[in-house]
């Protein structure tokens, strides 16, 4: 055996084995984070890039990318006017962007991965009394506003970016920041979405087939459970829970063993990284809701609303 062979014996792991150590979602997460960071790089002259539909890249970069976009558009009196955003105070930390426009400060999440303490400190530095929490959310709404409320906050407006994410109500108004009056003296509660850790359950989600989510591009509605599970497996996604409706019309979460493969899928919602919850039932279409007699019969387009869709409460433990 020559010395090269001897050294080879010291190799603790092969490339193939190494690749098998990390999950698909961890890989995708790293790509997300890398591209978010890079989006922070200052550029001399911006072009007008097309929106990306790539799964990895939708969602997380939006806050960073939109910082410029939202601010420019809100600042313009008419298209073409050269009114540049003026940064307020020292903005080195870069967790949030504060940009002053007349009587307002626009606040956009710049880095949805920053330490929450950083956000709080930055709000404080700008004299704004904002209590901020971060909750784990499904990928396409990382960096968006999940909840906003509090005392005396009527004057605060939510900044939306159409089409950057797709919320549960079917809307494309994606909330990405706040427009706060300079003289705001109230107390605001704000919850932003952050990326979830492996195994961590999402607190807020949009449909699992929305752009930027694990099942984007798949047509699962009306298909049999067995067929959908195969489609999921090809994407390395598993069904953590099944949502069924009992004979009395009560919703219930059950495990896979309680659901025959011949049942039908009505919708899918992200559950945790790499996991979804499937709403299923015996019939191809969900049964009409029995309770209020005036309830409309579901039409082809009205699938059951995504269940945990943007349903975060203000209170739960943040990070």
């Amino acid at each position: 055996m020559n010395d090269i062979d001897r050294v080879a014996r010291l190799a603790v792991i092969s490339d193939a084995d190494a690749a098998g150590l990390i999950s698909q979602s961890a890989r995708a997460d790293l790509a997300d984070r890398i591209t978010v960071l890079a989006a922070e790089r200052p550029v001399p002259a911006a072009k007008s890039p097309r929106r990306s539909r790539r799964r990895w890249l939708i969602g997380t970069p939006l806050a960073a990318g939109l910082a410029a976009a939202v601010l420019v558009v809100t600042a313009l009196g008419s298209p073409g006017d050269k009114v540049g955003p003026v940064p307020v105070g020292p903005v080195k930390a870069k967790a949030l962007t504060f940009t002053r426009h007349g009587h307002y400060i626009n606040v956009i999440v710049r880095n949805p991965l920053a330490d929450p303490r950083k956000y709080r400190a930055e709000f404080k530095a700008h004299g704004l009394n904002v209590a901020l929490k971060l909750l784990p959310v499904s990928p396409s709404i990382v960096g968006t506003v999940v909840y906003f409320g509090g005392a005396g906050t009527d004057a605060i407006k939510v900044i939306t970016a159409r089409g950057r994410c797709f919320t549960g109500g079917g809307g494309s108004a994606c909330p990405v920041g706040l427009r706060v009056p300079v003289n705001f003296r109230g107390q605001a509660d704000l919850v932003f979405g952050r990326a979830a850790r492996p195994g961590e359950k999402y607190e807020s989600t949009v449909s699992a087939t929305a752009p930027g989510e694990v099942l984007h591009g798949l047509r699962i509605v009306g298909k049999r459970v067995s067929a959908v599970l195969k489609m999921l497996a090809r994407r390395h996604v598993s069904a953590a829970k099944f949502h069924i409706t009992t004979a009395r019309g009560i919703g219930k979460l059950v495990s896979g063993s309680a659901v025959p493969g011949s049942w039908f899928v009505y919708s899918a919602d992200p559950w945790a990284p790499g996991q979804v919850m499937l709403s299923v039932g015996r019939t191809r279409r969900p049964a009409p809701v029995p309770a209020p007699s005036s309830a409309p019969v579901p039409s082809r387009s009205s699938q059951p609303a995504p269940v945990p869709s943007r349903t975060s409460q203000p209170g739960p433990a943040g990070t």
Binding site: D3, I4, D5, R6, V7, A8, R9, L10, A11, V12, I13, S14, D15, A16, D17, A18, A19, L21, I22, S23, S25, A26, R27, D29, L30, A31, I34, T35, L37, A38, E40, R41, P42, V43, P44, A45, A46, K47, S48, P49, R50, R51, R54, A64, G65, L66, A67, A68, A69, V70, V72, V73, T74, L113, I159, T160, R162, G163, R197, P198
Partner: protein, 197 residues
């Protein structure tokens, strides 16, 4: 009222169409993620450190995407970056990068730190007694299976220099091995390309 239109200004590096940049990055990342993780694990023997090396290496690749050669050259270029990242890592810039968080969590579960037994103990001790430069040369041949030209590309030197340095490294390894036979076996920490033991 919608405040943002499709054509609004975004912040991206101006060099190329952003979609194209991403596609290119994804292509490089997908193919090379395993090999770069393997490279890092073989040298650090430690999941946390390896995760950081992978993250920093691909961050560099994304930021310098225009410098990454096409096809096969990409991997060699990435090895070169990973080598520098590792060197900095060993110089005490050890940091738990936020980027690598998920990778670290995965590796914490799936990766078991190596423990050498039997003959490998002495072998590893001999290897460890070499300089970092010698170890890296030998490892690029034995672990990554690179030839002289490829190593020259990774290290940024001439093929001839690789040939000469490799010859010397092999001699020194052989000498270290023979010394091993005369000495009591030391207990060994994980193998490392730097000074992590």
């Amino acid at each position: 009222m919608w405040l943002v239109s499709k054509g609004a200004t975004l912040r991206y590096p101006p060099a190329a169409d952003p979609d194209e940049r991403r596609r290119r990055f994804e292509a490089i990342y997908t193919v090379n993620c395993g090999p770069i993780l393997g490279y890092a694990l073989r040298r650090t023997g430690n999941g946390d450190d390896a995760a950081d090396v992978v993250a920093q290496t691909f961050l560099t690749a994304w930021r310098r995407l225009d410098d990454v050669p096409a096809d096969e050259g990409a991997r060699l270029w990435l090895y070169g970056v990973a080598r520098r990242v590792l060197a900095n890592h060993h110089r005490g810039q050890r940091r738990k990068s936020e980027l690598a968080e998920r990778l670290r969590l995965d590796l914490a579960v799936t990766y078991q730190e190596p423990e050498y037994t039997g003959q490998l103990v002495g072998l590893a001790a001999a290897f460890q007694s070499l300089t970092g430069a010698d170890r890296e040369l030998l490892a690029l041949v034995a672990w990554e299976g690179l030839d002289h030209a490829e190593i020259a590309s990774v290290l940024g030197c001439s093929r001839n220099a690789v040939r000469i340095r490799l010859h010397r490294a092999r001699s020194r390894f052989a000498a270290a091995l023979s010394r091993q036979h005369d000495q009591p076996r030391p207990a060994l920490a994980p193998i490392a390309n730097g000074d992590t033991q």
